[in-house]
Amino acid sequence: MAHLPVTGRREATGALRETYELLGKRALPPVYVPAHGDAPGIVRAHSLDPAVMRCAFQVSGSLNGQGPLEWPDRELVNAVTSRLNQCLY
């Protein structure tokens, strides 16, 4: 159970719905597309504030969509960071 209310793509209306649609257009490697069909949990965690959701994931796109680091090196950085922050995500 999340500690705050989280609204998924299917229930979203207004600005939140538009933001999900905008972010859904990003090309994601298949491994990052959740089988449950909704937006990834870390995106949905921002559903109380669609404007912040949009800004944060545009930064994510610029760090993950451009080099110079290749995907395996980026995964290494992210895995080390998560492990030290003791975060399952």
Partner: protein, 229 residues
């Protein structure tokens, strides 16, 4: 992910990248200009160093939001990591006068990635310059506590020194310090004092988004300032 065959075997390059991400996450103030020389010798050029620093700082943002909001994983994991150990203590940052000097000329700046820099600026404005749901003064307090905890001298110039007074501000400062220094201790219980002080769900997310954003911004700032020292 780490077992994926496409990941590089932990050769000198992989170890150097992992070591850099570790310092950015745990003690960005420890970086030095000599680290750039060492990293170049491991085959990592300055643009790649900047990418690691920005990426690790940003993933720290995602870790903080994930734990503060309490999201569940989107997929099954074959090898679950151990549960968080709340007793793990964050590494202490140096005294203020020993924190990286923000005014030194820098070999690496985010502006060397202009698209990323422009998007970070837009994010900063969105997070810091709204009037609601949290008031601006309270948001500035949250950012000040995070900048202070991260040794971000330039950030503190923008926010002013944190000076919480009253129940709500004390609760905001305590939560912001947790976000900055020990995100593995975030959970429903950590939010309780803020709820008790009258914040609703939208305001709680504002606190989380502000503290987590500032953790990203301060970590990036301190790492880049430290790499100039």
């Amino acid at each position: 992910m780490i077992a994926d065959a496409r990941l590089p075997a932990a050769g000198p390059r992989g170890r150097a990248i992992a070591g850099l991400a570790r310092l950015v996450t745990e003690a960005p103030w420890c970086l030095r200009r000599e680290d750039l020389v060492r990293l170049r010798a491991s085959g990592i050029d300055d643009a790649e160093v900047l990418h690691v620093v920005a990426l690790s700082s940003f993933f720290g943002y995602l870790n903080r939001v994930a734990d503060a909001v309490g999201i569940e994983l989107d997929y099954e994991v074959a090898l679950a990591p151990p549960p968080p150990d709340a007793s793990v203590a964050p590494l202490p940052r140096p005294e203020r006068h020993e924190c990286p000097d923000p005014d030194r000329a820098r070999p690496l700046q985010l502006g060397q990635r202009p698209t990323t820099a422009a998007l970070v600026d837009a994010w900063h404005v969105q997070v810091m310059e709204r009037a609601a749901p949290l008031g601006r003064a309270h948001r500035r307090l949250v950012a000040a506590v995070v900048a202070d905890a991260t040794g971000d001298v330039a950030g503190l110039r923008a926010t002013g020194e944190p000076a919480p007074s009253g129940e709500l501000e004390q609760a905001l400062a305590a939560y912001a310090d947790l976000v900055a220094r020990a995100p593995w201790r975030l959970g429903a219980a950590a939010l309780a004092p803020l709820r008790a002080a009258g914040l609703d769900d939208a305001a709680l997310f504002d606190v989380i988004a502000t503290a987590s954003y500032q953790s990203f911004a301060s970590r990036l700032e301190v790492a880049l300032a430290a790499l100039a020292s």
